[in-house]
């Protein structure tokens, strides 16, 4: 979706201002929210692409003003409400409605290391041969889906050169909406800065993005 999260090339956000010796957590609640996201139970079929999309749906004014782990809070709450796993009253009060049965299948501490080690493999075998070859010129298509996608606006319609081919990967556009993994060939495409930003940009530098086959067309 063409949301405010799609930030490549925006102006006006101010200086980067890195913090010296930044602590891992800026408040104890951040650590709790991190652990809840990692260790908590989500609706059936929920996956990382859906998580990212739910986060993208945060209203722009909240997206920009709330801090990172607060985005995680907002996203987990939206997922709970949407799936019916929690009600608004329960979220507001912090307590389960009277008579709610307590589940017994939450991730256990002894499962954490293995989950961390083995989770998040997105490469998938794919039968069709790749459409594009390394070194080939391709154009990122001018697509504007209202649902989840990972083709940023700043590359749409722009021509680049395929640098890497990663084989088949789960397609977020489909996976985020629980429509199946629909794996496609994934490529890294390099775009010159001038192609992206015009003739006054650097003549030498490049930006590269990882783009699925359906995001691309021959150029």
């Amino acid at each position: 979706m063409n949301g405010v999260h799609d930030m490549g090339g925006m102006h006006g956000h101010g200086p980067i201002a890195p913090e010296q010796d930044e602590p891992l957590w800026h408040a104890p609640w951040e650590a709790r929210m991190f652990g809840m996201r990692r260790g908590g139970t989500f609706p059936p079929g929920f996956n990382i692409d859906r998580w990212r999309h739910v986060r993208e749906l945060i209203p722009p004014y909240l997206y920009l003003v709330r801090s990172y782990y607060d985005h995680w809070y907002m996203s987990y709450v939206a997922a709970l409400l949407h799936s019916g796993m929690a009600t608004r009253e329960e979220i507001k009060s912090g307590h389960a409605a009277p008579g709610t049965a307590k589940r017994n299948d939450a991730m256990r501490p002894d499962q954490v290391w293995k989950t961390q080690k083995t989770g998040g493999v997105f490469a998938r075998a794919i039968e069709t041969p790749p459409l594009f070859a390394i070194g080939q010129r391709v154009r990122a298509r001018n697509i504007n889906p209202t649902g989840h996608t990972r083709v940023p606006r700043y590359v749409r319609g722009k021509v680049g050169v395929v640098q890497l081919h990663h084989g088949g990967h789960v397609l977020p556009d489909s996976n985020a909406h629980l429509q199946g993994e629909a794996p496609e060939h994934l490529y890294t495409v390099a775009f010159s800065m001038r192609e992206l930003w015009g003739p006054e940009a650097s003549p030498r530098d490049e930006a590269l993005a990882d783009l699925w086959e359906s995001y691309l067309e021959p150029a």
Binding site: H11, G12, H13, G14, P60, W197, E200, S202
Partner: protein, 214 residues
Amino acid sequence: MAASLSDHPHHHDHAHSDVPSDPALRTRTLESLLTEKGLVDPAAIDAWVEAYEKKIGPRRGAEVVARAWVDPAFKARLLSDATSAIETFGFLGREAQHIVVVENTPAIHNLIVCTLCSCYPWGLLGLPPRWYKAAPYRARSVIDPRGVLAEFGLALGEEVEVRVWDSTAEIRYLVLPERPAGTDDFSEAELAALVTRDAMIGVAKVEAPKEPNA
């Protein structure tokens, strides 16, 4: 390439963390300060407010539309040089110095927006409604005009061409809506009374007059 953002002074940075978030309070404080410094005369503020409350509003645009409906020669002038046609009404002014009028027909439906801020033909329509200036309309008009019109209750046939005019410069656009059926013997004033602001932005059609109950 423009200098990095860290080189630019950040005009907005400090002020907003120092003042209360309630705009009523901040605005009253600002007016008080500007008055003390002689940077504004409160009576001038009153005069501006009154101009747009009482004198300048969509009735002006409606008069232009009604004239175009009854007078073909005027309509032709309006479509070829709206600025000079409207000047005869004395309606040019602030935010309405360069006008283009776009005609709705059964084949073409026009819609006006300002995606970048809130440009609007004040001199003909008065001050814009809040929805016109807000993100949803500004974002969606150019990408999904039919969806926007549907939200206003207007469904257009697939064969109708929709044209969305983005007011990126100082040209101000006015839609000349279609004259509704059943108004052949209406006077110019009666016609003007039918023309709504929303029809002149392009998010509505002008409704045919209601039949009196038998």
